[in-house]
């Protein structure tokens, strides 16, 4: 499997979830685990460009696929990805725990709908729980991210 463009050897533990593999075998702890039953969306990553719950997949199922995590959005030292920048500008995060999942969902959303309608935004983030922000600032951040992505 490739993670953020880098090939990695196949996972060896057949019980390992993709989320645990990313976090504990590859050290990519930016992907968070909030419920482990596919509801909260904290563990969202992109699989071949589409948002998926990494806690609902075994790591071995990602063999042969491209996985993108939050660490791959912007290289260390380089400017933030437009979605990250927008979340910062609009205070789309507080504790930051659900944030990587939201970022990956929104990257997936904007890839599909570069100029999302309010309904598409609602739909695009309706699979992620946030307990801190109340979502209004996240909706603002998605709009801002679309704007930044167009620039």
């Amino acid at each position: 499997m490739k993670v953020n463009g880098i090939p990695h050897p196949a996972p060896t533990d057949p019980r390992r979830l993709l989320s645990d593999h990313l976090r504990h075998d590859l050290g990519l702890t930016g992907t968070h685990v909030g419920c482990e039953h596919g509801v909260c969306g904290c563990c969202t990553v992109l699989l071949d460009g589409a948002p998926v719950r990494s806690c609902l997949m075994l790591a071995v199922q990602a063999e042969g696929h491209d996985v993108s995590t939050v660490e791959g959005l912007a290289a260390p030292g380089s400017p933030l990805h437009p979605v990250q920048q927008a979340f910062h500008e609009c205070q789309g995060l507080q504790c930051g725990f659900c944030t990587p999942g939201f970022l990956m969902s929104v990257v997936g959303l904007l890839a599909q709908h570069p100029n999302p309608t309010p309904e598409q935004i609602e739909e695009g983030i309706a699979g992620n729980l946030c307990r801190c922000t109340g979502y209004a600032s996240i909706r603002r951040a998605v709009n801002r991210a679309a704007e930044l992505s167009r620039q």
């Binding site: 019980r15 976090r23 039953h37 990250q84 979340f87």
Partner: protein, 776 residues
């Protein structure tokens, strides 16, 4: 004091790490740690007849399995955090139960293994024989006491407390009108997105314990661990790293894992970690909100409240680790922003076979607000007076502060409101709310509240200017997302005349600041914020003192601007903070960064020793702020909702908040707190109900069934501010953390009653509940 940063919408400095996936939450820390899991009781009430761990211990990869008998503190009842004279029958659990379990989820055994998978497999092999006992669930069943939760607690009554201001019986008797009302609240849960986690390492060579804990109170955990393990506090370090939301229940002393993980690390000589899963979070982490209120109110022909009697049962759960804080807050907060000339409140805290309770954002206040607001709505209805008008007639007026309520507050003082302007809140909210939308089944709801914030005893800060000119600041309290690093940097930057970017704030790390209490009760900005201001001012004074000597100027003629101390009116004459930091520390050896300027042959001599009597080296200070009492924030929420008469789906059409938390340090951060609070309030009002069955089993212990609002359930929220500065603290600030959540249930309840014409006397509601009410 300059006010360049205070009040500005400064973007959060903590974002970048978190956005890049480089946060550091407790479960992110590994370092070869053993992993662990807990064996928990499946019964809500049962006698343990035997525990056999032999099969679990035999599993390859299992390093240790502990039961109570294996622990030197196994027979110790865990502390009651906040004892109270009225808590006559306080009870706490032991770290691991060995005789009786009193809630489903109570810890029984602890398994440590090479991996989490192995630990979980082995936990399944721990054989515990239980003899089920009768289960007591719901506050009413607890109070009826047909069965006891604790054999030695008669009537299941942990505590009873009666307070009376005036003569309620006489005032009720003579009142022109009276009503009796009953209100009921079911349990809910905070559900931070990060569950709890603990990581610990024991260094045998240094005899030092290091604990990373997703706690809201690392200083208290450190104090407790040092007592329990017989270590000096300097040998125990507790760090709350990034914490993924707290909202109250991440404060305990202790959850069993907070003892077991450090204990196992000390025993086994290897780091040990434990990370909660979501299901156990639902049963093993403290909950809140279960109360039943019986109210009698007397009022005059204009709807003015003459007397109020409130008698309520508080479901404390199986144990009372947090004392009586919740019912004390409820009792104190029922009158809210209204004059209640005669007020009597009695509560009984009753045991049930449910998870223990402790504050969850709002902490006893949403219930109190619901009781008072719904009571006023009921009076308005009887007298056919507008709901806003009934509130106007009952408000405490702006010229009545300080206003002594005469009942007990959670800090042991009497409740005294320090400042506020409640009529202004209401009028501004009504103006923002605007006209009622057209359409059927639309209702308007209104709720006004006060909130005692910034409770003591104290917080402290350390502020230091480094020789580089950069500033580091630390406090004992951790952040769970409240942007402490931003707002405290604003406060410090103003005092020292530097940029926010020059100030690096650390919180919740006892290595950096060992004293303090914790992050709870909307107290961070008030207590630690003022401590930061006081301490930074001490540093500023020291900088002026040293600069004054160097420049031969009276320190009173100096100011801190742009990273320098300058002579007022002569911006060319000054000395940088970096240079002053060097000069503040007379040194023998130059070690770079300009320190050669402070060596004994280089520095300008003054009479006496290099460090005069009473002087301390370094451009730094440690200071504290201890509030004389709570400062009282307030607000008014108003909403229009539409309820679908067929599906009873709730649609919030408009939601406005007018909020007063005194002077705003950072409106962006305050608005974030409010928006998040309202979302939690909407969850608590309409979606989130912990569904216990009669056997004490929580039937919805997952996010599939316990319905936290998604974006689809939370509307845009319009926010307005008024500022009545607190006279109690130097910054004039009040707390803002819980404001968003407090009146939401009352507002939604009022709006639904208005929309459907059904009486709303409980929280949470749900489509099913509205269906049932509409058939009455």
């Amino acid at each position: 004091m300059t006010t360049r940063w205070f009040g500005a919408r400064v973007p959060r400095v903590e974002d970048e790490r978190l956005l890049r996936g480089r946060g550091r939450f407790t479960d992110d820390i590994d370092e070869g740690a053993l992993e662990s899991c807990l064996v928990r009781s499946p019964y809500a009430h049962a006698r343990i007849t035997s525990i056999d761990v032999s099969a679990a211990r035999a599993v390859r990869g299992v390093v240790a399995v502990y039961i109570a008998a294996d622990l030197p503190f196994g027979n110790l009842d865990l502390p009651i955090l906040i004892p109270h004279p009225n808590l006559t029958h306080g009870r706490t659990q032991r770290c691991l139960a060995s005789e009786v379990v009193r809630y489903a989820g109570e810890a029984v055994a602890f398994v440590v293994a090479e991996s989490r998978n192995i630990a979980e497999d082995a936990a399944d092999l721990v054989q515990v024989e239980y003899e089920p006992l009768p289960v007591v669930i719901t506050p009413e069943v607890g109070a009826a006491a047909h069965h006891l939760v604790h054999d030695d607690v008669p009537g299941n009554i942990a505590a009873e407390m009666l307070q009376e201001v005036g003569d309620v019986s006489a005032a009720l008797k003579s009142a022109p009108h009276r009503q009796r009302l009953r209100f009921r609240f079911e349990r809910g849960a905070a559900c931070p997105m990060e569950g709890r986690a603990v990581w610990a390492r024991w260094s045998e060579s240094e005899r030092k314990l290091t604990v990373f804990d997703s706690t809201q109170s690392p200083t208290s955990i450190r104090g407790g661990l040092s007592v329990l393990f017989g270590l000096s506090e300097s040998k125990v370090e507790v760090i709350a790293p990034d914490v993924g939301g707290g909202f109250g229940p991440k404060i305990m002393l202790f959850y069993p894992d907070e003892l077991l993980v450090p204990f196992a690390a000390m025993q086994l000589g290897r780091p040990v970690k434990w990370t909660e899963d979501r299901q156990e979070h639902f049963t093993a982490v403290n909950q809140e909100r279960g109360q039943v209120h019986d109210v009698e109110v007397g009022f005059d022909d204009d709807g003015r409240v003459l007397a109020l009697s409130v008698d309520f049962i508080h479901d404390t759960g199986a144990y009372t680790p947090y004392g009586l804080i919740l019912p004390i807050i409820t009792a104190a907060q029922v009158p809210g922003p209204y004059r209640v000339p005669h007020y009597r409140v009695r509560f009984r805290a009753v045991y049930t076979n449910a998870t223990p309770t402790s504050p969850y954002r709002g902490a006893g206040r949403p219930h109190a607000c619901f009781v008072m607001e719904r009571t006023l709505d009921s009076i308005a209805k009887q007298l056919d007076v507008d709901r806003a008008e009934i509130r106007r007639r009952n408000f405490i007026q702006p010229d009545q502060f300080p206003y002594d309520l005469g009942v007990a507050w959670q800090d042991g003082n009497s409740v005294v409101y320090d400042s506020g302007n409640y009529p202004a809140l209401l009028e501004k909210a009504l103006a923002m709310l605007g006209p009622r939308p057209v359409g059927d089944h639309v209702g308007m709801g209104l709720g006004v509240y006060v909130e005692g914030t910034g409770v003591g005893p104290y917080e402290g800060a350390h502020v230091q200017v480094l020789v580089s000119g950069r500033v580091v600041a630390a406090t004992g309290i951790p952040s769970q997302g409240q942007a402490h690093a931003t707002v405290f940097a604003q406060v410090v930057a103003d005092e020292l005349g530097v940029e926010v970017a020059d100030v690096e704030v650390t919180g919740g790390d006892t290595r950096r600041f060992p004293w303090g209490v914790g992050t709870f009760a909307s107290r961070g900005a008030v207590t630690a914020g003022n401590a930061m201001a006081i301490t930074a001012r001490m540093v500023a004074d020291k900088a002026k003192q040293i600069a004054g000597e160097r420049l031969e100027v009276d320190p009173a003629d100096l100011e801190l601007v742009g990273g320098s101390v300058r002579v007022k009116g002569s911006p060319g004459r000054g000395i940088t903070l970096a240079a002053l930091s060097v000069l503040a520390n007379p040194v023998r050896y130059a070690f770079g960064g300009g320190t050669e300027a402070a060596t004994q042959f280089a520095s300008k001599r003054r009479p006496g020793p290099p460090l005069a009597d009473g002087e301390q080296p370094g451009l730094e200070a440690t200071g504290y702020y201890s509030p004389p009492g709570s400062t009282w924030a307030s607000g008014c929420h108003a909403a229009y909702v539409r309820v679908d008469p067929k599906t009873f789906r709730l649609e919030v059409l408009k939601y406005v908040v007018v909020h007063d938390c005194g002077r705003l340090i950072n409106p962006l951060v305050v608005e974030g707190q409010i928006e998040g609070g309202v979302a939690q309030g909407i969850g608590g009002a309409f979606y989130e109900r912990l569904a216990y069955d009669a056997e004490g089993q929580l039937r919805n212990a997952s996010f599939m069934e316990y319905l936290i609002p998604y974006a689809t359930e939370v509307p845009e929220i319009e926010i307005g501010h008024i500022e009545t500065p607190s006279p109690l603290n130097p910054l004039g600030v009040k707390g803002a953390g819980e404001a968003g959540v407090i009146p939401v249930g009352a507002v939604i309840g009022s709006a639904i009653e208005d929309a459907l014409g059904v009486p709303v006397t409980e929280m949470p509601l749900s489509p099913l509940k509205l269906f049932e009410l509409s058939r009455l």
